[in-house]
Symmetry: C2
């Protein structure tokens, strides 16, 4: 077997093991040193291969696939700085428990340290943010080292998929020649070697221990619930397992506790009867906030996006139980007295057994206030034909059919969806970068989400997030992907206008507002997207309807950064005032 | 003093110390946690502040400034994944000895580890690629901690600027409130505190030891030179100090050795009389290569870009001396028997003393062969009106006036400039990413180069490198920068067509060729650049002439990936054949 074929065998075995471990998508960036890995992806059955030119975009694309499918995509870069572009996505994966499998091709050891081109020390390139790192050996056609390679690949997939999920990194050195040799390749013999072992089963099938929640701890929580009428179920951003909305709905019914469901909690759209969305507005009404302090809080997922409700919860003095599937501790104010790790769905099911309080006056108080605020919001919307930022968020969510996917950018879009897109009966998957809350890689992440799902996909983004990852659209163009990108364009960083800095510095526009005057229609033209620029709610709905039928769409809605702050305040004031028109139960 | 003013004081003191250490440019990315640092940049005299929206682009922009000015630019990101986008630029800085000063704003210690938003462990974010890392304390208005801050800032600048130069990283936590408080700021008192110490002088002025080359070692080299007529001066990519071309020219005159000067060696344009550029072609002529093997090689900078001349040197059996200003060991084939660290300019001057061989038959042999190859190339160009890739590289360099800056992308552009843009008498600064040889961040790096220089600036890029960093143009648009970007658009990764993989896989186009069909005029429109699409050499020259007068220009030249390989081969063959028409001396 020639040298090139050894590389090929090595890469094929490695990729075959990844697929046996459950990997279904490969994201491949162009490069020479990674040639054997790129080819192996195309040659391995059961793997869909995506070519992505910019490694940063590729990293977020893989992140989006991992988020949506909860299965790691493998993402591959050549040697040099290429792999370093994965870093932001790797960090986000680590903080939001998204599985991802990073392969960096490398030059062999004898080329390191003496100035060979495109040679970077790549070991532990992602530091503490990789859940697992291994440097594979230089390829050899030798049973012992091939077994080690298979086992290492199996272990890498296992580590990416087990709690706490995250990115793992294999660094894979190759010697030249990198391309298959031109003489007959011996594909049959190669395939036989690659297929050794049990088809579809990893070389070393590692079974992590069950992560069933602690039953004794749950029993004590149940006793607390039984003794407490004024309880709340609070669902922050999370996306750990299927069936969560149903489990939470059942728990709500059993406990009589309303559900404060954040936009990206997977409990708001298609959730329980006592789902509360407009908590931010409700709690702006001081008498309501004062009279509805809970005594027990069951928290799932991350902290709530708006500050006020989270602070209200933190200051309520309630006993707080945090359910954390994978051990992430979303409790910066240290209110949780118990943290219960393991499947939250199981925890809900266990807790609901033997409880049957049903929704009573306590829950109805929240629901009634929610309805009053909602009526007020819809009243304002009915009066206006203006496409304000709250209205955009509202219309986007309202237009999505069951089974649709919505990626929501950090910064203003997630706040607006959370505040103005209340619960609906349709089941939506709402994803956001909830680990490090960056506005980076948003387009690429949404595209990854889109290719990992059968349903239609929409991204709601601000203009800075859009421009930050505009190159991500190249992948949509090259692979003819379907995504509708709604860009709220307020010509700069809208969130800063809500912060004290907006009034505190003459340098505000230059450093924070950062207006750019970019005409986004050119971005659509550059990447072959249909472009829409609606100015009315009906126009936005029409553009969304067209987008949901397929293809790549950029829907720009122009808004005004300064007016936006006022508009939010007016809307909040009117909604909160409506809450004041109780009685609430 | 209110809390906000403590943050402000802290940031002002820190930035003031950086300026005292010599920093002249600040690259600021929008963010909230970094507010005090961003404002401090605007408020500090002697610092030019650039707002850049995408942190990756900002990192490369700072890299370009550092490359061109050999002085670190400070680049600032907020907390979270933002700083991770600097990673590729930090790695390139580390490998190519470019000074850079990275500041990441951070949340204070009490917000870490418990799920607070936008909170990432940022200590040692860049691993072994940062020359120095320090976590500053949480701001306090206390003389002892302020002295520590000043001294740490002074040390950071010193570490970035001393050999081996590279990126340093300070992580700076801030507590809220982040904006200056609205009450009277007490600017006078604040300024007095900031200005404490000696104006323009660092708090702790650290003087690194002199890096004069070892005189005894140089004396032995001089004896070797005196005893050896067949010697070569080989200058690979390097850009360590001013005066290099002159020092090399004088050394060449003194030793009688011709100078093989790579395109980015700073010895080719405005270099010595015995400068040889077309070495790749000369050595394709076997009798010439055979009869011109050197016995002594004085190497400066990195390895030569084309493989053949480097392999010829490696296999010549010559005694090889590597001059390495900052200790980087560009010698992957381990031919150097001596490595002489320290200023190469000084080393040249010391060596030239007492030698006066002058250019003789040995050097004239090279020069004559170079002239023959050059005549052949110009003959081919005179026959054709086609804008081939070699011709583009040739015309771009030929059109630049003294004092111009040329950034050349890795991959094909640097190879084409090296092969087809021979020595000229005008002095040019030619920069490329010679550390890790990536095609990343090219537009942003070139823009950084442009703002750090008075002369006109041109970037020669391929289409993939252009698309990889297309968002970098946003900074040019926002700050109305002048740069002429020449994009050789062969609709994909042209270099792969030169590799064996081009003929070895049915998946070549999908994974390596990666055609995209993008119309680059839309990119120019998106970022407000003048767009040119010349199809003849005269058209290209006209576009370049317009670009050199100022403004942002995108000059696209469309070529054909497959035809390009053949074209190179034909041109090389004709040029090498011309060499065969010696005699060479």
């Amino acid at each position: 077997m020639s040298d090139a074929n050894v590389n090929q065998l090595w890469a094929r075995v490695l990729v075959e093991e990844l697929v046996r471990g459950g990997v279904r998508h490969a994201v491949v960036c162009p490069g020479s040193r990674s040639t054997p890995l790129a080819l192996a992806c195309q040659q391995t059955e059961g793997l869909k291969t995506w070519s992505v030119i910019d490694e940063r975009s590729a990293g977020f694309f893989a992140l989006g696939i991992g988020k949506r499918s909860r299965t790691p995509a493998v993402v591959i870069a050549t040697s040099g700085t290429a792999g370093a572009h994965f870093y932001p996505a790797v960090i986000e994966a680590s903080l939001s428990n998204v599985p991802m499998l990073v392969l960096t091709a490398d030059r062999p050891p004898e080329l390191h340290g003496w100035g060979a081109p495109q040679t970077v020390p790549q070991a532990r390139l992602f530091g503490e943010f990789a859940r697992f790192f291994a440097d594979t050996a230089v390829p050899e056609a030798n049973e012992a080292v091939l077994a080690h390679l298979r086992a290492t690949a199996a272990r890498a997939v296992s580590m990416a998929r087990r709690a706490p999920r995250g990115a793992v990194h294999l660094n894979v050195p190759f010697r030249e020649p990198l391309a298959p040799t031109p003489e007959p390749f011996g594909e049959e013999r190669l395939s036989a070697l690659v297929r050794q072992g049990r088809p579809g089963v990893p070389m070393t099938h590692i079974h992590p221990p069950s992560r069933s929640p602690d039953l004794q701890a749950l029993e004590r929580v149940r006793q607390g619930i039984a003794a407490t009428e004024r309880g709340l179920i609070v669902c922050g951003p999370r996306d750990e397992e299927d069936g969560f909305a149903q489990a939470i709905a059942a728990l709500s019914q059993a406990t009589g506790y309303p559900i404060l469901a954040e936009a990206a909690s997977q409990a708001r759209y298609g959730g329980g009867a006592a789902t509360i969305s407009l908590y931010d507005v409700l709690l702006r009404h001081a008498p309501f906030a004062q009279s509805h302090r809970p005594e027990l809080v069951l928290r799932f997922g991350g902290g709530l996006t708006p500050k006020r409700p989270q602070q209200w919860l933190d200051s309520a003095g309630a006993r707080t139980i945090l359910f954390s599937d994978e051990g992430a501790l979303f409790d910066p104010s240290h209110r949780a007295e118990q943290v219960i790790e393991g499947s939250a769905v199981t925890a809900c099911e266990v807790l609901a057994q033997g409880l049957s309080r049903g929704l009573g006056a306590w829950a109805r108080g929240f629901l009634h206030a929610e309805q009053l605020a909602r009526n007020a919001m819809e009243g304002v919307f009915a009066e206006q034909s203006e496409l304000s930022e709250p209205r955009i968020a509202h219309e986007v969510v309202a237009s999505l059919p069951t089974g649709a996917n919505l990626f929501v950018s950090s910064s203003m879009p997630i706040r607006d969806v959370d505040a103005f897109a209340p619960a609906r009966g349709v089941t939506l998957r709402t994803l956001s970068s909830r680990g490090a809350n960056g506005i980076d890689g948003i387009i690429s992440s949404a595209l990854g989400m889109a290719v990992a799902s059968e349903g239609p996909s929409v991204l709601l983004s601000g203009d800075l997030a859009f421009l930050h990852d505009v190159g991500g659209l190249l992948t949509a163009h090259r692979h003819r992907l379907s995504l509708t990108v709604v860009v709220v364009n307020n010509d700069g960083g809208g969130i800063f206008s809500f912060l004290p800095i907006a009034h505190a510095s003459e340098h505000f526009e230059a450093l924070f507002g950062t207006p750019h005057g970019i005409d986004l229609s050119h971005a659509a033209a550059l990447y072959g997207a249909r472009f829409h620029r609606p100015t009315t709610p009906a126009g936005l709905r029409a553009a969304l309807a067209e987008g949901l039928r397929g293809g790549l769409h950029v829907v720009e809605v122009q808004t005004d950064r300064t007016g936006n702050v006022e508009h939010h305040q007016r809307l909040f004031t009117r909604m909160a005032a409506a809450v004041g028109e109780g009685p609430w139960a």
